[in-house]
């Protein structure tokens, strides 16, 4: 009947008692019972699913939206705490800090490592804007507004918030370094962007 009866189907002795009389093109079937561990797994997934579904759909387990609202509240609190701790620019603190002897070195190093790639070795600009001119997109070029930009970044446009990664002192140092670019008009300076402030 079958066109490829090349070999006989091999049946072990212990299988003879569960061998069925089915024969499909030479294929035989045993009737082993369902493996226990398999049945238990199946049962567990069902037993878990019903109350899980009921809890979320009928009995007021926390919904995704409630969870989000709670998480966002937490985020905002953290952001506010951070702001309070280091966001506010304090001129006196800055001026006291930059008198330190190592500040120039730190500022230079941080700039080279973290800012140069986008703003150029001498602040001439690249992916990021020119930092040597009197034009600013964010704030008016005052120490305070520039500090805020560095601290919070312009996340949408590809500049990270540096405050959290650098910490207040390094931001002071790099701000000091950056402020020295002002008016230098280096080679390859990028066209000005933003508004002019004098």
């Amino acid at each position: 009947m079958s066109d490829n009866n090349e070999n006989e189907v091999k049946i072990f002795d212990d299988e003879k008692k569960v061998l069925l009389d089915h024969n499909y093109d030479g294929i035989r079937e045993l009737d082993h019972p369902l493996p226990k561990w398999w049945l238990i797994t199946f049962a567990i997934t069902i037993i878990f699913s019903i109350p899980y579904y009921a809890a979320y759909t009928f009995f007021g387990a926390q919904t995704i939206d409630q969870e989000l609202a709670q998480d966002m509240k937490e985020m905002h609190a953290k952001q506010a705490a951070h702001e309070a701790k280091q966001g506010k620019f304090n001129l006196a603190e800055y001026e006291a800090y930059i008198t330190g002897s190592k500040v120039a070195k730190i500022g230079k190093k941080v700039y080279k490592r973290k800012c140069k790639a986008c703003h150029g070795a001498n602040g001439e600009g690249g992916v990021g804007p020119n930092l040597t001119d009197a034009f600013w997109m964010h704030g008016n070029g005052s120490l305070e507004t520039v500090y805020n930009t560095i601290n919070k970044g312009v996340v949408d446009k590809g500049m990270a918030a540096w405050g959290p990664t650098l910490g207040k002192e390094k931001v002071f140092a790099v701000l000091k370094h950056m402020m020295e670019f002002k008016g230098t008009n280096p080679e390859g300076a990028k066209a000005s962007q933003g508004q002019e402030f004098n």
């Binding site: 091999k10 899980y52 949408d156």
Partner: protein
């Protein structure tokens, strides 16, 4: 046998040979396209700046070619071969078989032409436009008639478990395809689906998930039940397990679609349904694996020696792995990490390469020598193929899983100050680029293994002697007048129409329960007054977004999770998509989410970004879209498009339809004028790029304005 008269018959193996050859050829083509798109993600220059070859257009070609051309032809090969033998009869009609074969190849060729041209409906694995959808329906009906006609004239009273799986697959695929393709034509090669937004998403992923289930899984399980016992000459482990896992599998599978939409704007109860049914699917899926692997008892020493068995064992093992990973990824917390990442890409290739390719290879090595009455050209090559393919598969799977988890963790990383640790999306792309190269190597190895099979089997066929005559077999005809004394499931196996009806009912239960509230209830989603239809120009831009397949790299769905809100803005709401025919939520974020891209950048940013993404976004892997700046916006078709939208319930007034062309032109002019400062010339005002900008700038702004 009995005293009954013996009848003589032969099998139509010619059609099986045709499908087998088509399987081999399309498998190689589909994998080649896969290798191309893998290279495009590793280095954008492999898009070659040619519109027909960009990632967004080729990725649908790859998925369609693998699913419908490669696996499709392979299941037709196996179904036509095994069904005749399991039912002891020739196929119902040689003519229908031929129409089926040539019709299916025509569909594939049409897909290979239209998808690169950007003719696409954008619904994943159902991108083909309406005339091809109709052709698919016709050919599928031909297949069904041929199959059920064969069942009707069978000489074997009871149907074997393979046939159960074939029946369930054939009827369910018909249902899925028809419902997901309900659309209204705008022109010969453009249509809008009748569902929008959340409903469209739900129908699409009911389809998408069950295409995996009833095209890539259940028919292949049917094939497994035939070819594995045949290849090793061992009885199937448990008939009882076959019954239980068959019915539970088809009943449960259909519900699980919403696991593709966890944390989206789909109502939460439907998401929870998707999750729990996916969990319950684990055991029924493993039922198939157990029956496959335990059938190998006493034959394991042969697995080391015989390539065919290596393929089968690997296939079944990967089936088991994928069907474990699937439920795992459906658990909400795991899904929140894995969704939109390459982890999912790894998962589908574990199934696609591990299960489907490996199984098809085993089956072809079993079939080709037998069909052509010869021996395989080189056992050694077939073993080399196996190890090459397996190595490629492992590299692919591991690199994508690592890439996905890495990127998922980076997206969600928030520091102690409530800020994203990696706010720049490109940082998370740069990190996984090495993985994209490893994946490319993995893909190349799998493709190479496919080419080895192509060579080895074509050599086998070429060297075979021509067989002119079909073998003749004998079997008694069935005596339908005899009283049916079977009981329980055995009785059902003799009553194929009742069996088929029950299978249809099994898949209808989940479908109906999920769809009735979604499609009929008015308060399935909350609708906001603030949401307005797109302007004609924005609609034109949206159709370009669909044409270019931007959804292959960008989602439009901000999930309600803190990290997403910090990165992209307010979480997306169901109401925002009510005029989206089709929805564009996407399923993979190779680039950032775009749901609230509107207003984020100035128009000129988009202008330069689309022409050369690297100009404004260093290191980007997005392709260039220079042709959008050269080709004109098609204004003339706008009234027709708006009219179809009107018919679908989008509230455009007749006046808006009438004025659509002048309105679009005016909006385009205003946008272009606004970019004059940035150096954009007024000459481009009627170019497609302007329509695209109009759409991008509108996106996600209604609610937040």
């Amino acid at each position: 046998m009995s005293s009954k008269e013996m009848e003589s018959f032969s099998y139509d193996d010619d059609i099986v040979k045709k499908f087998a050859i088509a399987t081999i050829i399309w498998g190689a083509v589909g994998m080649l396209v896969g290798v191309i798109i893998a290279s495009q993600l590793a280095d954008w220059r492999f898009n070659f700046g040619i519109e027909w070859l960009t990632f967004g257009r080729l990725r649908p070609l790859h998925t369609n070619a693998i699913i419908f051309a490669f696996v499709g032809n392979s299941i037709f090969t196996g179904i036509y071969h095994s069904t005749q033998r399991l039912l002891k009869t020739r196929l119902f009609s040689d003519t229908l078989s031929k129409i089926h074969f040539w019709g299916w190849q025509l569909i594939i060729v049409l897909a290979a032409v239209t998808l690169p041209l950007g003719i696409s409906g954008s619904k994943e694995y159902a991108e083909l436009e309406w005339p091809i959808d109709i052709l698919i329906t016709v050919i599928w009906v031909v297949f069904a008639v041929n199959f059920f006609g064969t069942l009707a004239k069978r000489r074997e009273k009871h149907i074997y478990v393979s046939i159960w799986f074939y029946i369930a697959s054939i009827v369910t695929i018909a249902l899925l395809h028809i419902v997901n393709s309900l659309e209204i034509p705008v022109s010969l090669m453009k249509s809008y689906p009748i569902f929008a937004g959340v409903q469209d998403a739900m129908v699409q992923w009911w389809y998408g998930h069950n295409a995996v289930a009833f095209f890539l899984t259940t028919p292949v399980l049917g094939l497994m039940y035939y070819y594995v016992p045949k290849a090793i000459n061992r009885p199937v482990y448990s008939y009882r397990l076959s019954i239980v896992h068959f019915w539970s599998l088809i009943f449960l599978y259909i519900w699980a679609g919403p696991h593709h939409l966890l944390y989206t704007a789909l109502p939460e109860w439907a998401q929870t349904v998707g999750m729990v049914f996916s969990l319950m699917l684990w055991a029924p899926s493993w039922g198939g694996m157990i029956n496959g692997l335990l059938t190998l008892r006493g034959a394991w020493d042969r697995v080391r020696k015989e390539a065919i068995l290596k393929y089968f064992v690997t296939a079944i093992t990967f089936y088991g792995m994928s069907t474990f990973e699937g439920p795992l990824l459906s658990i909400k917390s795991v899904n929140s990490l894995g969704h939109y990442t390459d982890w999912i890409v790894g998962h589908v290739h574990g199934g696609g390469i591990g299960w489907n390719y490996m199984f098809a290879a085993g089956m072809l090595y079993y079939l080709v020598p037998r069909l052509w009455k010869t021996t395989v050209y080189s056992e050694k090559l077939s073993s080399t193929q196996f190890w090459t393919g397996t190595l490629g598969l492992v590299l692919y799977y591991l690199s994508m899983t690592v890439a996905g988890i890495t990127q998922g963790l980076m997206w969600r990383a928030i520091d102690g100050n409530g800020q994203l640790v990696y706010p720049n999306f490109m940082e998370t792309v740069d990190k996984i680029l090495p993985m994209y190269w490893i994946r490319l190597i993995g893909g190349l190895l799998v493709f190479t293994s496919m080419l080895i099979m192509l060579y080895n089997l074509f050599k086998t066929i070429h060297l075979a002697k021509k067989v002119e005559k079909e073998d003749v077999f004998q079997a008694p005809s069935l005596d339908w007048t005899k009283e049916n004394t079977d009981k329980g499931h055995r009785k059902l196996e003799g009553l194929t129409s009742v069996f088929t009806v029950l299978a249809v009912l099994a898949v209808l239960v989940g479908t109906v329960i999920e769809f009735i509230p979604a499609l009929l209830s008015r308060d399935f989603i909350e609708v906001s007054e603030k949401i307005k239809p797109y302007t004609p120009l924005e609609l034109a831009g949206r159709d370009l977004y669909v044409r270019e397949g931007c959804y292959n790299c960008h989602s439009q769905m901000i999930r309600p999770m803190a990290s997403e809100v910090l990165r992209y803005g307010k979480a997306s709401e169901a109401t925002e998509f009510i005029y989206d025919h089709p929805f564009q939520w996407g399923s993979k974020r190779t680039g950032p989410d775009l749901a609230r891209i509107g207003g984020k950048y100035p128009d000129s940013w988009h202008y330069f970004h689309m022409i050369d993404p690297r100009k404004v976004s260093p290191g980007s892997i997005m392709p260039v879209y220079t042709w959008l700046e050269k080709d004109d916006t098609e204004y003339n078709i706008l009234p027709k498009k708006l009219r179809v939208m009107q018919a679908l319930g989008v509230p455009y007034t007749d006046e808006e339809v009438r004025n659509s062309i002048s309105h679009a032109k005016a909006q385009a002019e205003a946008i272009t004028r606004g970019m004059a400062d940035a150096g954009v010339s007024m000459k481009v005002k009627d170019k497609q790029l302007i329509a695209m900008i109009a759409y991008l700038q509108r996106m996600g702004t209604d609610l937040t304005r």
